[in-house]
């Protein structure tokens, strides 16, 4: 279980988050949407244990994240953050234990649609390809909690759908709790059990919308479209 209680995070003189109560149950898939600059990445960074100073509490499975974060959290950052000197395979290896075989890594690379690019360097990849390497690295771990910051933002529509399905598969395999930040309301609703809408500056929770559908889902389902409208309304678009 991932939880924050009256989380307030201040950078110098900007208040990024104010009094945010956020929770994701074990195995739950929660999407977080909100306008640019409302503190979505900040929320993930706090949960990942990358921010030391904040008010309120943030915990994963009851353990406060302040102390370097939980060992069982996989993070995909908003930017790919690949090691420029390492091949795609070596970059993905970072997400695994030392002892992993090349075959297992290459499987995962294949799953994100980058078969044949195992030995490529990051500079030879497009933005969307680099993003998928980062996704593979984040999922490699098989962690109990996955924190994903706009992992599909640079992908074309078709690749995006493929990678979304891949994410759902991986989640089923490892039964992880997922927090996905996205700008794409359709994606947020299609993937998640619940959509948390952040708003304003400083960011606060403005709505919490259940997605009343089992998986697998049909992307054109009426109820998805309805939910989407509720999220869009909450966003004030």
């Amino acid at each position: 279980m991932i939880e924050t209680r009256s989380l307030t995070k201040t950078y110098d003189d900007t208040v990024a988050l104010r009094e945010v109560d956020f929770a994701a149950d074990d195995g739950e898939f929660v999407s977080v949407v909100g306008p640019s600059g409302c503190g979505k990445s900040t929320l993930l960074r706090v949960l990942a244990g990358l921010e030391s100073g904040f008010d309120g509490t943030a915990s994963i499975d009851g353990t406060p994240v302040n102390a370097g974060g939980s060992d069982d959290v996989g993070v995909v950052f908003q930017d790919p953050r690949l090691l420029p000197w390492a091949t795609v395979r070596e970059n993905v290896r970072i997400g695994f234990d030392e002892s992993v075989t090349d075959d297992r890594i290459d499987d995962l690379i294949d799953r994100v649609g980058l078969d044949g690019f195992e030995m490529a360097l990051p500079e030879e990849l497009s933005g969307g390809m680099a993003q998928r390497v980062a996704l593979a690295r984040g999922l490699a771990y098989g962690p109990q909690a996955l924190l994903l910051d706009e992992p599909f933002s640079a992908l074309d529509a078709l690749t995006k759908v493929e990678q979304q399905e891949f994410l759902l598969d991986v989640r089923d395999d490892i039964d992880a709790t997922v927090v996905l930040v996205t700008h794409d309301v359709e994606e947020a609703v299609y993937l998640a059990d619940r959509v948390v809408v952040l708003g304003g500056q400083p960011g606060t929770v403005v709505a919490d919308v259940e997605v009343p559908l089992d998986r697998p889902r049909d992307r054109t389902d009426e109820r998805l479209i309805e939910t989407r409208e509720r999220v869009t309304d909450a966003l004030g678009v």
Binding site: G49, F77, D79, R81, L83, A86, E90, I94, L121, E123
Partner: protein, 277 residues
């Protein structure tokens, strides 16, 4: 109207300039660009030759290029030259080896540990400003006129650029990448091996290039003052014997050795820093 035209004119010139600055392709003549670097030196040698034959310079001040060449060919044939050359190269090699190693050790320690940096950096920063010649008497006093004084002096020269570049390189490592290894619980040693050292490698090589360059400067300082062999000794011997051909030839040899070593380090740099630029 006029102002608009002027403005366009300026833009056009600006565009041509940027295109010209960006153009790094081999020139249109189809000459390999490396060979072009030899054109001006070649012309200088021709000019030098003409200045002597026209009597502008007296041969006892500046010898003709051919005189320099024949002197050194003769010294090569008698074997004398190789003795001097190999001694100098050996000194530089050992000096670079020790200096670069020490630079790597200190650069790594100060780069990784803030306390070490606070303790050592101010001292090392001020030591780097001591001119090479100023060390010579002290080292002679400490080590005598043997090899160790010279090698230590050269090592000192090679040390500072390596130390400075590596230390700042490690300190300046991209925080974003460190967050990645933090999140994926990469161990400390693994983090050094996979992230910190590769990230600092470009800086290290810039440092080594500078260090090798300084090693050549310091070897001259060492050999001019206290040596019975070596290129620097040859240089000062040329003055004692009033042989400008030996002086000029030694200077040219220093230039080519410095160049060769720089080309070597540059090749190494391209090889090791295979990513980006």
């Amino acid at each position: 109207m006029a102002t608009v035209e002027d403005h366009d004119g300026v833009t056009a010139i600006g565009e041509r300039l940027t295109a010209w600055v960006r153009d790094r392709s081999p020139s249109a003549i189809g000459f390999p660009r490396r060979a072009l670097g030899l054109v001006v030196p070649g012309l200088l040698v021709v000019g030098w030759h003409l200045l002597i034959t026209q009597g502008v310079f007296q041969p006892h001040q500046l010898p003709a290029p051919m005189t320099v060449l024949s002197t050194f060919v003769a010294m090569g044939a008698s074997g004398e030259l190789w003795g001097h050359l190999s001694v100098t190269i050996q000194r530089v090699a050992f000096g670079v080896l020790f200096g670069v190693s020490a630079g790597i050790v200190f650069g790594t320690i100060t780069g990784l540990f803030g306390l070490a940096n606070d303790l050592l950096d101010p001292l090392l920063q001020s030591m780097k400003n001591i001119p090479s010649l100023a060390w010579v008497p002290l080292f002679l006093l400490w080590f005598g006129i043997g090899e160790s004084a010279k090698v230590t002096l050269i090592a000192l020269g090679a040390f500072f650029p390596v130390y400075l570049n590596l230390s700042t390189g490690i300190q300046g490592i991209d925080e974003d990448l460190l967050e990645v290894v933090e999140v994926y619980d990469v161990g400390r040693l693994e983090t050094l091996r996979r992230v910190v050292f590769p990230a600092a490698l470009p800086n290290l090589l810039v440092g080594i290039r500078g260090g090798v360059g300084l090693a050549w400067m310091f070897v001259v300082a060492a050999e001019l003052i206290a040596a019975s062999q070596g290129l620097g000794f040859l240089l000062s011997d040329g003055r004692v014997l009033a042989r400008p051909d030996i002086i000029v030839g030694s200077i040219l040899l220093f230039a080519s050795l410095g160049n060769l070593s720089d080309i070597g380090v540059k090749a190494l740099q391209r090889r090791l820093v295979y990513w980006s630029a």
